[in-house]
Symmetry: C2
Subunit: 244 residues, 2 copies
Amino acid sequence: MTHDHIVSSFDGELEHVRQNVMRMGGEVESQLAKSIQALARRDSDLARKVVEQDANVDALETELEESTVKLLALRHPMADDLRVVVAGLKISSDLERIGDLAKNIAKRSIALNQMPPSGGVGGIQRMARMVQGNIKDMLDAYANLDVEMATAVWERDTEVDEMYTALFRELLTYMMEDPRNISPCTHMVFIAKNIERMGDHATNIAETVIYLGTGKRMEAERPKGDTSSFQTMMTPDDQEEMKS
Amino acid sequence: MTHDHIVSSFDGELEHVRQNVMRMGGEVESQLAKSIQALARRDSDLARKVVEQDANVDALETELEESTVKLLALRHPMADDLRVVVAGLKISSDLERIGDLAKNIAKRSIALNQMPPSGGVGGIQRMARMVQGNIKDMLDAYANLDVEMATAVWERDTEVDEMYTALFRELLTYMMEDPRNISPCTHMVFIAKNIERMGDHATNIAETVIYLGTGKRMEAERPKGDTSSFQTMMTPDDQEEMKS
């Protein structure tokens, strides 16, 4: 009887880890959606809400970490259970970073609202929609321990990287056209980069879900579609040439 | 006798975690130093070495994570020992990110070598020197469990943020002066941002060292000196006005 009680309470604690990860995921999804909405609608009030909301995510991460350490100390989980705990820690750290990046987008959109509208908002929205989809699918894969789905999302991140590279080039051309675009477009480049990094964190989560489901690590380096760090970019003369 | 043997081997395993963290730290320090050298000297060969070196850091992180999970499963560490293990996991994840950022700087410096020299290299070097110092001090604080030193470095990050904001503004003015500067300066802005983020990871490590030494978490939000996400920046007209 006592033994049963201990076991069931232990399961309850593991379930608590899972639920906290899912709650954090939901919070972060909503943060990202609102930050892009704030950008597209030039809504500084909404952006400020996103900045404030980040405290919830941080609090959830701290709570999760503390309950995990307690669980490790008191319950000594083994094998599969231990993987649940370690995976919870890893995923929550990725989710916390995604939340931070959404907060940064919100801050930048407040700054952008004090400047004339910038090009590239449509591209940002498309990129964000794709990353949001990946994060959502990843949380489903985590909830259902669906390794196949996690692998699919992992592979899909190349598309995000490609969108980023295209958007980066687009934004550089606006800057070259008119120096008044440089300041807003620099914020936009950072926003695009933030979304691309959210995609990277989603693939980290995918790798953790795969580890959780199979006990194996992804061996291969993920194919990278973002080549912008290597990009030398066209000179203005090249651009003129293309136009003519 | 058997008991003694088990205990001493357990201590050995904890020491192994510590040593692996220090090795990762050393590797990452050298990666950062070389990436900035490659940038300043326009040395693409050195930059390529930094990119390759990142595999060592990743391998060390994987090894550390695997030995940690094994240790948790077999040894059930408690209290202080458990904190050593959890701290090792957290710090190695921050170090891995710093390594990634150094790799990204190296990639960007290869791209920059195909463009005319850009302004702002001196500022980048100064910023990098400061962050390198912070990372070094932080590893010392970790090795000696020196909470006071960790707190000092934690507070010092504001200076890094301030340098970043100043450098960001400087780079924007180069872009506004001549559209041919936009492409190289965009890389430089990202490099500056990467260094600023390394500083953030150093403060994360500081927080972990403080947690390790005291069992307490830093409650307060760290004062932020980087206000660039809020920055609206001068218009070219403002600049003209300043010059006249």
